[in-house]
Structures are given as C-alpha cells and as structure tokens.
C-alpha cells in the first residue's frame, strides 16, 4: 500500500493541479472556430482557460499567457483575522478528512462573481438589448443590459447575480454589477450592500477572451480587489441542463461536516 501511495503521489499531485479550479474534462486540443473574428462579440460556448492540459505545458508554448491566481482579498485589518480563521478552519477540516459543508452541499448556485470562474462550460448570447451569460453548473443565468443605469445601492434588490449594466469602451465591454445578497460570497469574503463588481471583457483573439474583475467595497475592502479570468472557445458545444435535484451529501446537523447519506437503491424503497 505504501509503495502504491509513493508511486501515486506525483500522479495525484499532477491530477489535482490539473483539476484546480477548472473542469478537468475539457478536450486536450479543442477544435478551433472558423467564425470570422469579431472583437465585439463574445457569443458562443466557452471553457475557463487554461485547460488542464495547458496548465501543465511550458508557458512559452501557450498562445495566450496564463492569468495569475486570484490574489488574497485586501480586507480592512479589522475583518482580516475572522476571514483568515475561517479559511484556516476549512483547510484544517479538509486535512482531517472532515470537510465542512458549504453552499454547494445545499444545492446553492455560485452567484456573482464566483459564477464567472466558469466551473463548467459557459454560453454567451447577445442581442441589441442585453448580453446573457449562462453557466452550465446550476443552470445559472445573468443578464447584462446595455446602456442602462444601475440602481443606487439602497434600491438594488439583492440577488445571486445582481443587476448588471454594460457599455463599450472601444472594443472592451465594461460591466458593472450591484445588488448581491450578503451571504453570496466569493472565497468567503464578506461584503456590504455597497459592493460593486466591475468587469472589463475583451476578446484577445478569435478563441479567447479575458475578463478583468475588480471588486470594490468601501466597508470591507481597503482597496480594489482585482484579478483576471480568461476563457477559451469550445465551438459547437451544446450546454447540458443542471437541476441540483437530489444531493446525497448533507451537512451533519451536529458538526457541520459534509457527509454522504447512505440510502438503499431507490428502486428497492
């Protein structure tokens, strides 16, 4: 067993690296689109970039440089200890093999901005009025309305995806989002009703677009929190439906740990 473990460790490490934050099921060499390049159209189906296979490649051989990891949130000092303690608790629970149940255990969708990390493929459909982004995981949909004024923070009805308005600056689509529920969190970072998510989306070439995300929150953040996500085209992909209909994982009511509910075969009930 020990030998198996030793031999398997590098493979597992590579596999986990490969699977890190990206669906590990993307094709090794995705077919390229033959559509003419339109710098003002994000329409189509997309995977988060880099693909797992690209993540292990020599970076100098990549057509598009890999984006840097999302940096730690610039929380104000008074909020940092609680956030760090929470993250440490999650890591320690995982290390013990007793992971803490999270929002996914309760079949909750990502919301914004987490949805844009594109856990699964993502589809963009645009008309004159709006750009609609569909994330396969949890059937998530957000709508970005063009040339519309956002509501003031106190008038923005809170939701998972909030209210988004977009306008073009050259060939960059600039999108602002407000109105995210206070318990819809990215990386467990708390936020206020005054959080604003700014996105700058730009086609890099016919098959890649980047999204520079900047979160501001005068109550919780001491400065803007910025990172970049890149997406790679997945041509001709047909999105699957995703209804989180029955999760056999549940939160232990005593410990809060994620557990699996063992049931008899459904047909035998």
């Amino acid at each position: 067993m020990r030998r198996h473990l030793i031999l398997a460790a590098p493979l597992l490490a590579a596999a986990l690296l490969a699977g890190h934050a990206v669906a590990a099921d993307a094709p090794a060499t995705p077919p390229k689109s033959t559509a003419p390049f339109d710098p003002r159209s994000f329409d189509g189906t997309w995977d988060r970039y880099p693909l797992p296979t690209d993540a292990q490649r020599d970076p100098t051989t990549l057509a598009v440089p890999r984006p840097a990891d999302v940096p730690p949130p610039p929380l104000k000092p008074q909020y940092r200890p609680e956030w760090e303690a929470k993250r440490k608790k999650i890591q320690e629970a995982n290390a013990r093999g007793e992971p803490i149940a999270n929002e996914y255990t309760a079949c909750m969708p990502d919301g914004m901005p987490t949805m844009m990390q594109a856990m699964f493929p993502m589809e963009v459909v645009t008309n004159k009025r709006q750009m609609t982004i569909i994330q396969e995981a949890y059937n998530q949909v957000r709508r970005i309305y063009f040339n519309e004024k956002l509501p003031a923070a106190e008038d923005a009805e809170p939701g998972f995806w909030g209210h988004s308005a977009g306008h073009w600056e050259g060939d960059t689509l600039v999108v602002d989002t407000v109105g995210i529920k206070d318990y819809v969190l990215f990386r467990d970072v708390p936020h206020s009703a005054n959080m604003r998510i700014n996105e700058r989306m730009k086609m890099l070439d016919a098959n890649h677009f980047e999204n520079t995300v900047t979160v501001t929150d005068p109550e919780y953040l001491e400065k803007p929190w910025t990172w970049k996500w890149i997406y790679q085209r997945r041509p001709n992909y047909k999105m699957y439906e995703y209804v989180c209909e029955q999760n056999h994982e549940f939160a232990d009511p005593t410990t809060g740990a994620q557990r699996m509910k063992i049931t008899p075969p459904p047909s035998k009930k």
């Binding site: 067993m1 198996h4 473990l5 030793i6 031999l7 460790a9 493979l11 597992l12 490490a13 596999a15 986990l16 690296l17 699977g19 890190h20 934050a21 990206v22 669906a23 590990a24 099921d25 993307a26 999650i90 890591q91 629970a93 995982n94 290390a95 013990r96 093999g97 007793e98 992971p99 999270n102 996914y104 255990t105 079949c107 990390q117 856990m119 699964f120 493929p121 396969e136 995981a137 990386r187 699957y240 995703y242 209804v243 989180c244 209909e245 029955q246 999760n247 056999h248 994982e249 740990a257 994620q258 557990r259 699996m260 063992i262 049931t263 008899p264 075969p265 459904p266 047909s267 035998k268």
Partner: protein
C-alpha cells in the same frame, strides 16, 4: 534513497492536502473520501441514478473481508460524465461492474468513483477533479 523518496512522498502528500483545499473552492471537497486507500470492488449493479449534483451507482459487492454490501458510489455529474464519454443509459441494474473507489473515511459503504470497467471491458474514468485511480483495475 528510500528516506529521500519517503520525504518526497510526504512533501507531495502535504502539497496534495493544500491543493485539495484550494480545489474545494472550485466546487466541493472530496476530503471525506480516503484517497490514499482506494479499493477495488466487483459486483452487480443494484441501481443507477443519472442526476445532479452527482450521479450514483448502487453496487452489490463484497468488501475486503468478503462480506456482501450495497455500496453507494458517487460519480461526477451528468455534464462532466457526458463530456468524458459516458451515456445516461450505459449502466443498468444487474450489470456486472468492477470499480476502483476511494471509500468514505467513516467506514460506511459509500465511496467516490475513480475508475470503472463495464461488463464488455470498457474502462471509464470519473472525469472532473475527482482524480485518477492509484491501483490497477485489472
């Protein structure tokens, strides 16, 4: 040399824990399953549910002590599995199936699928971030 390999393995083990923790940000943690002690099960399918957030196989198979159990085996979701070549109707009750799984740490008869071999010999993996098997299926 042996010590060096062990040190390396321990280091990688630690790296795995850290990576597993950060991977959990993407979706959910697989830490409730014992990745280091994967087992092979051969048996008969009792049921198969193609649904989100996870596909499940119920498999009647003996444990390592030879006791018959009904195992509940967690797979990825229909989208991931379709993309790695599965089909919603490829497994049916009474099918013979061999699997490599990471069992629950609690000792209950539940597990995470790593690899499976259908009655016709076709081998399939679980796709997604669940990771590959670390013991042979044949």
């Amino acid at each position: 040399m042996k010590t060096a390999i062990h040190t390396l393995a321990r280091g990688l083990g630690l790296a795995l824990v850290v990576l597993a923790a950060s991977t959990a940000q993407a979706h959910h943690s697989f830490a409730m399953f014992d990745n280091d002690h994967q087992i092979k099960l051969s048996g008969t399918v009792a049921d198969f549910k193609w649904q989100n957030p996870h596909v499940y196989i119920w498999l009647n198979a003996p444990n390592e002590k030879g006791e018959m159990k009904t195992w509940m085996i967690e797979c990825a979701n229909p989208g991931i599995l379709n993309r790695v070549g599965w089909k919603f109707n490829m497994i049916k009750p009474n099918d013979k199936l061999t699997v490599i799984v990471a069992p629950l740490r609690t000792g209950e008869p539940g597990a995470l699928l790593k690899q499976m071999k259908l009655a016709d010999g076709t081998k399939m993996e679980n796709g997604g971030p669940a990771g590959p098997p670390n013991i042979p299926i044949d």
